[in-house]
């Protein structure tokens, strides 16, 4: 036992020491572990904190994203709506037929505005609303909707004053009535206006809460209603204008018919007159020839000596007979040209040559009257298709008149030039001129200007009428310009191109 005790006594301090050392090591180890755990806890805390911070940031991102998405969705909806509105506007503004406007509205395009149901109702002349466009409604729903509006005209009339009625601004009670009547959950109703008058109403609606309306929808439908109003107004204005033009056309046709009848009558009378003049002229010419013949025989003295006084009278008979023959010939020519009986002998001929001939023919009278004659003929005058005898007659008439009405030392000018596709001729004088009233009647048959010269010189009043007929028979034009005491200018034209001459 003592040995055990000795051993114990010897070892116990060592064991105690070992235990103390072990405890120390263990404590150190535990301390280190505790420190590590603390560090890990700290790291975890930090990590968790970071996670939470990230989550907070995520919340911020989500909220911002939600707002952005809402804005984007509204923007998309508006863009789609505006695009559809643009298409609808273009469709209805490109027709002036009221029925066609409604046909064009009656299609799915309108649903792109964001509404699955729509109606367009227009007042008839009896102020009853008639449905012209219905989309997305069953027959029963449509009857219910129209029945509601017909029975609630006060409500209908209030639409004009309110400008817009919708499920976001109407009182709950009104909303409930409309929702029931139209079988929708969300709606917009806008008046179709023509200035102050209400033409009708546009109704649009949706059945699903997923498509609740916004203020933007109200604006869109309001614009649509305005566009429809404008299109209807234009169509109605066009309809009025069209009807007026139709009535006018009927009137014009009636007047034209009356005028044609009158013209035919005038032509008939004119023909009768021409035939009468022609017949009378022929009848007059035969005895006149006899008178002239007998006068000539008497003047020869073959039937007996005739006294000077009688001879003088016989010469007057002869001279007046010549005048009468000339008058009758002119009348016959006019009537022939009018009735188309005179055949123009069209050949290509030179106007300058005609002017030269006429100058030669009239030279004695020019000299007698002591007037200056000048011909201004352009170099490039082409030959023109004409009846040279008749055109010579025109120049003789015009230059003859110029000599007659131009005082001594006066000037007569004949000008010929090319003017586009015509040859233009002007016979000018420095004579007594023609007053304005006479100018209008100058080319009428038997018209003679009242002036001193005409009072002293006899004339038939047929010369210029004949000239006009000849020029017109050549498809030319003739007109006159004149001032009293300053002279006159007679213009006429002849076409260069033979094709322009009618009847050639």
């Amino acid at each position: 036992m003592s040995s055990v005790q000795e051993i114990w006594q010897t070892l116990s301090p060592l064991i105690a020491l070992g235990l103390i050392v072990g405890m120390g090591i263990l404590s150190a180890f535990l301390m280190e572990r505790i420190e590590k755990v603390k560090k890990l806890q700290s790291s975890f805390k930090k990590l968790n904190h970071s996670f939470n911070e990230l989550d907070e940031q995520a919340k911020l991102i989500v909220k911002t994203d939600l707002e952005l998405n809402k804005a984007q969705e509204e923007l998309d909806k508006r863009l789609t709506g505006l695009d559809a509105l643009h298409k609808v506007s273009r469709l209805i503004s490109t027709t002036l037929d009221e029925g066609e406007i409604f046909r064009r509205l009656n299609q799915p395009l309108l649903t792109e505005l964001g509404f699955e149901k729509h109606l367009v109702l227009i007042f008839d002349p009896y102020q009853q609303l008639q449905c012209h466009v219905d989309f997305g409604f069953t027959a029963g729903e449509l009857n219910s909707a129209i029945d509601f509006l017909q029975k609630n005209m006060d409500f209908v009339n209030s639409i004009r004053d309110k400008q817009i009625i919708s499920s976001i601004r109407e009182p709950k009670e009104t909303q409930a009535r409309l929702i029931k009547a139209f079988n929708v959950k969300h709606f917009v109703i806008a008046p179709i206006l023509d200035q102050k008058d209400m033409l009708g109403v546009v109704f649009t609606g949706n059945r699903s809460d997923a498509f609740a309306i916004t203020e933007g929808d109200e604006e869109l439908i309001s614009i649509l209603a305005d566009q429809i109003g404008q299109a209807i107004k234009n169509a109605r204005l066009f309809e009025q204008a069209y009807r007026a033009s139709q009535q006018l056309e009927v009137k014009v046709r009636e007047r034209t018919r009356q005028l044609s009848t009158a013209l035919e009558e005038v032509q008939r009378i004119s023909n009768t007159k021409s035939e009468f003049v022609s017949a009378v002229s022929h009848e007059l010419r035969t005895p006149l020839t006899s008178i002239k013949g007998y006068a000539a025989i008497l003047m020869t003295g073959k039937v007996g000596e005739i006294p000077d006084k009688v001879k003088e009278r016989l010469e007057k008979i002869n001279k007046h007979s010549d005048n009468l023959v000339q008058l009758i010939n002119n009348l016959l020519d006019i009537s022939r040209i009018e009735s188309g009986k005179t055949e123009m002998n069209f050949t290509e001929h030179s106007i300058p040559k005609i002017v030269e001939n006429v100058h030669d023919i009239l030279m004695p009278q020019i000299k007698d009257k002591n007037v200056t004659f000048e011909a201004k003929i352009a170099d490039n005058i082409p030959k023109v298709l004409m009846d040279p005898t008749q055109i010579e007659r025109v120049f003789i008439n015009l230059i003859g008149n110029a000599i007659k009405f131009t005082p001594e030392k006066g000037r007569i000018t004949v000008e010929v030039k090319v003017d586009d596709d015509e040859v233009a001729c002007v016979v000018s004088d420095t004579g007594i001129g023609i007053d304005e009233d006479s100018l209008k009647k100058l080319f009428n048959e038997f018209y003679r200007v009242e002036n001193e010269i005409n009072q002293n010189v006899k004339g038939s009043g047929l010369g210029l009428a004949l000239v006009k007929k000849i020029i017109e028979a050549h498809s030319g034009r003739i007109w006159v310009a004149s001032q009293v005491h300053k002279g006159s200018q007679f213009h006429f034209t002849l076409p260069k191109d033979p094709k322009q001459i009618k009847g050639t």
């Binding site: 989550d55 995520a58 994203d65 789609t80 649903t111 498509f211």
Partner: protein, 394 residues
């Protein structure tokens, strides 16, 4: 040895005329004596009972499958109103159809199996390639139906589908089988024969904020997330606006910011739109999520959605070994359509740029059935939200 398609579309206000115009146009474009099958999509503006007999008559009473939809996807445009018909005739592809009704009253798994089995009955021993179906989009427990179909075909059998939609009133959608309009039903098409196909399902949403864990679920209802009432996740991010998640509120949050449940197997986030909030703060999703899974709030925008479209189209092209498909079917989430807004039409250009100028036909759906990231994993279809499914058939 070819596949022919003809697509017709009409927006005529008169349902009968619209049906006639769409069917006539499809038949005219198909230009074939025989029609093997026709896909028909109608928006809520038309009465299916009225228009279906007209379409069936014009298409010689061929097999018709279809669905109501919020809108149609066509080769050149997307429309929120109209009737669309795609008629198909093929020397290579075989189609067999089946349907089932009143799903709300039945065990979904059993119904799914019955739907699949019915399509197999007349298919015979021919090579089955793909099952495609349309189901009532507002049906609860679609995953049960999917499981039932998988019971028949196996979990890895290619399976795609779409939830029938309406005009966002969430009141009445329907499915079409032959000349019958189904209520609360599903209609399926089994495709087989000498065909190649490519399928891709993508969404374009990315996770945001810190991850949380779904603690407790009850089917498609999430009770708690991160130890808190599930709704608090949305309340933390959106405050009062989280109340718009309640059914019938039509806020922006549920479609723009779905929950994303991380699925490690496929390294992707399964999206779930919240369709309602219960009084106890639980959130109701369209279909089930995995308990204890990591969940994020998800965020997406036009660009990310279009990138997803591009990826989906490229996946399809790769699966077809770069060959141009004869036709393309597209099922796309309404959420994506709403987010893309006016840029949605760019999708069509992107798809055509990658797959070529091929006939496109599709619909906007309440839920899509497909497999995310098919390129990295064997297919295992589930109900998706916020996704686009592209099927190219060669």
């Amino acid at each position: 040895m070819a596949t022919y398609t003809g697509i017709g579309f009409s927006q005529n206000q008169n349902g009968l005329k619209a049906a006639q115009e769409a069917a006539d146009a499809a038949k005219r474009e198909l230009h074939q004596e025989r029609i093997d099958i026709a896909f028909v999509f109608l928006t809520a503006h038309y009465d299916p009972q009225e228009v279906l007999p007209v379409i069936a008559e014009i298409l010689d009473h061929t097999k018709i499958v279809g669905s109501s939809t919020y809108g149609l996807i066509l080769s050149e445009t997307m429309e929120k109103r109209g009737i669309g018909v795609m008629a198909i005739t093929s020397d290579d592809v075989i189609y067999e159809t089946s349907s089932i009704e009143h799903l709300q009253l039945q065990d979904k798994r059993w119904a799914g199996k019955a739907l699949a089995k019915s399509s197999v009955t007349d298919f015979g021993q021919k090579h089955r390639k793909l099952f495609l179906f349309f189901v009532e989009g507002m049906l609860e427990g679609i995953s049960g139906l999917i499981d039932g179909i998988k019971d028949q075909f196996g979990t890895t059998f290619p399976l795609i589908g779409a939830g029938s939609s309406d005009d966002l009133r969430f009141e009445s959608s329907y499915q079409i089988h032959k000349e019958k309009v189904l209520s609360h039903g599903a209609v399926g098409v089994l495709l087989g024969g000498r065909m190649q196909f490519g399928i891709s399902c993508q969404h374009g949403w990315t996770p945001l904020g810190k991850p949380r864990v779904i603690d407790q679920i009850d089917g498609h209802i999430i009770k708690t997330i991160g130890g808190k009432k599930a709704i608090q996740l949305y309340e933390e991010y959106f405050g009062e606006e989280a109340q718009t998640l309640k059914a019938g509120s039509f806020g922006q949050i549920n479609i723009r910011y779905p929950l994303g449940s991380y699925v490690p197997d496929i390294n992707a986030y399964l999206l779930r739109n919240v369709v309602n909030v219960l009084d106890d703060g639980s959130v109701v999703c369209q279909d089930k999520v995995n308990e204890k899974s990591e969940v994020h709030l998800m965020i997406g925008n036009k660009e990310t959605c279009l990138q997803a479209t591009q990826k989906a189209a490229q996946d399809v092209k790769d699966q077809l070994n770069g060959e141009k498909p004869d036709f393309v079917l597209i099922f796309e989430s309404l959420a994506r359509y709403k987010i893309m807004g006016r840029a949605a039409l760019q999708e069509l250009r992107i798809i055509k740029d990658i797959l070529g100028n091929v006939p496109l036909f599709g619909m906007f759906s309440y839920g899509e059935i497909g497999t995310l990231n098919t390129t990295v994993n064997r297919p295992n279809s589930q109900l998706q939200n916020g996704s686009i499914i592209i099927l190219g058939v060669k």
